[in-house]
Symmetry: C2
Subunit: 317 residues, 2 copies
């Protein structure tokens, strides 16, 4: 791939995770219609990959109870890549029937977070992936990996890079060729991003790395910028900044798709996504959840938006 | 100055501008007691420089009507550097009497913003600085410069780097040795930051550059990171993210001091400011203005804050 003069990749893929990660912790159920419409409109805006839903227990995660319907109806509206989180072979069978483009198996890098999240050890989670991989193989569907708490754990604190590499190696052994590092509670920092990308590159040079940052501590896009400098070409974000943090109710969640695309545009890194179309779609995301969202560009408008001289009472000094 | 391995400066100065830029556009007047208490507590937290107030017309900017009192009372509480915006020789005389450490003269890089802000041309503003400089010289007080809309203008769009350099050269000619580039309405981007820092360095190699970013479009800290890579060692921010944008009522204002210091801490760049003390001070900023603020770290806590396993209903996947 040709690189820009300052070492950034020429092109990256923006993966919309709002329909899954963004909505998962909403107190109010979000209408299936809104989920499908969001995906369809974002696909029209140029987004080519979605984490559309999760085939998890509807009892544990009621927000994802409509997983099969979301996939079927989104599929009818777009040919973009649709993936879903898959916790076990049963979920994999439901996923395969739904006609998904990729199954995402997930595990936390820290034992306590994995226990809290799926009530099993990291080793048991890794062992369980084999059943999912078998179903996926039969269905001819690729399996991708996601490592939660990859930059730190809210229960344990620091997470060793070696533990992330160990999990990635186990996933690689199952045929997984794309792994997302999830910054689940916003603990990633530029040095941690550099360190983890370099450690994974050293251990698994052919692995495709995706980065999933939360803006919980305000530096989500600084981390994305760090990933760009490391040559990573796949970033997960949510429209409007959908999502939050169960550990910090007032804090924000995923980095916002429009803010990420704004940064990419200004850096000259192509994403194929139209910023104005994202700005036009953000109000739908806000209506769907019924509360304000954290994205900035959809509030302020594009950089070169011109204001009339009489549009403000006073200019800012 | 010794540099860290990745080219970042070893130490930077964090300048708190909340008491001036942050409060200037608040609809409700903020109590003088709160302004003084904020400065005193931030000084205790390790902040060594403040843009404390502006000696502007109380009629035009009622929020700054207590300028002299703020300076006098803050001076009694801290020996940190206290500067103030000074629009004209009359303001300079008031400033000199108040016992300030530095006068800041300001002009917009774009004609229309300067006209809107101070109702005169850029050339007339520059000419007016001579009177301020004369008063400051007599009082033995240094004069610093601030260039608003240095990265773009909400009325005109792009602002040429050459115009920023031309203004800086005029300021240099008046004896000004420190100039802030103000990202007044959040139009700065990493390429613009690089370009402007390099152009100023080429024209005025001994000038001290300070950077003042707003987070209006979500990339304020990405711009700060870019400034660090350019070797800039002075950054302006506001506690809690005080401030907003008259052009985008829902958008945020200055980058938040606690989010900036969090980033600096994680990069290993010393600021001398204690993050926990900032987090402890943010609620005072919020109470002073009576509404929520945009800073993230004061909501989420420090990176390695540990949560009990039973502190959340469900972990985030």
């Amino acid at each position: 791939m040709r690189s820009l003069p300052d070492g950034l990749p020429e092109r990256v893929t923006v993966v919309e995770v709002g329909p899954r990660d963004g909505l998962q912790n909403e107190a109010r159920p979000v209408a299936t219609d809104d989920k499908v419409e969001l995906i369809a409109r974002l696909a029209q805006a140029g987004v080519r990959s979605f984490e559309a839903t999760a085939f998890v227990s509807p009892k544990a995660v009621p927000q994802m109870a409509d997983a099969a319907e979301v996939v079927a109806r989104a599929r009818a509206r777009t040919d973009a890549e649709l993936t879903a989180l898959v916790p076990n072979p049963k979920g994999a069978e439901r996923t395969a029937e739904a006609g998904i483009d990729g199954m995402v198996v997930f595990v936390s890098a820290s034992e306590s977070h994995n226990a809290k999240n799926v009530n099993r050890s990291v080793a048991d989670s890794l062992a369980g992936f084999e059943g999912v991989a078998a179903v996926a193989r039969d269905a001819g569907i690729p399996v991708h990996g996601a490592i939660a708490t990859a930059f730190g754990c809210p229960f344990e604190g620091e997470v060793p890079a070696a533990q992330v590499v160990r999990i990635a190696e186990a996933m690689w052994g199952l045929g997984i060729r794309r792994i997302t590092l999830g910054d689940t509670t916003g603990m990633a920092t530029p040095p941690l991003v550099e360190q983890r990308c370099q450690a994974l590159r050293a251990a698994l040079p052919d692995l495709e790395i995706a980065l999933h940052f939360h803006n919980t501590r305000g530096i989500g896009l600084v981390n994305a910028m760090t990933g760009l400098r490391q040559g990573v070409t796949r970033y997960e974000s949510s429209i409007g900044g959908l999502g939050g943090c169960p550990f910090a109710p007032e804090a924000t969640g995923n980095i916002a798709t429009e803010d990420l695309v704004y940064l990419l545009d200004e850096l000259g890194v192509a994403s194929g996504v139209d910023l104005q179309a994202l700005i036009d779609t953000a109000p739908l995301a806000q209506r769907a959840v019924g509360h304000g969202l954290a994205a900035q560009v959809s509030k302020a408008g594009p950089r070169l938006k011109r204001f009339a001289m009489d549009s403000v009472r006073t200019a800012a000094q």
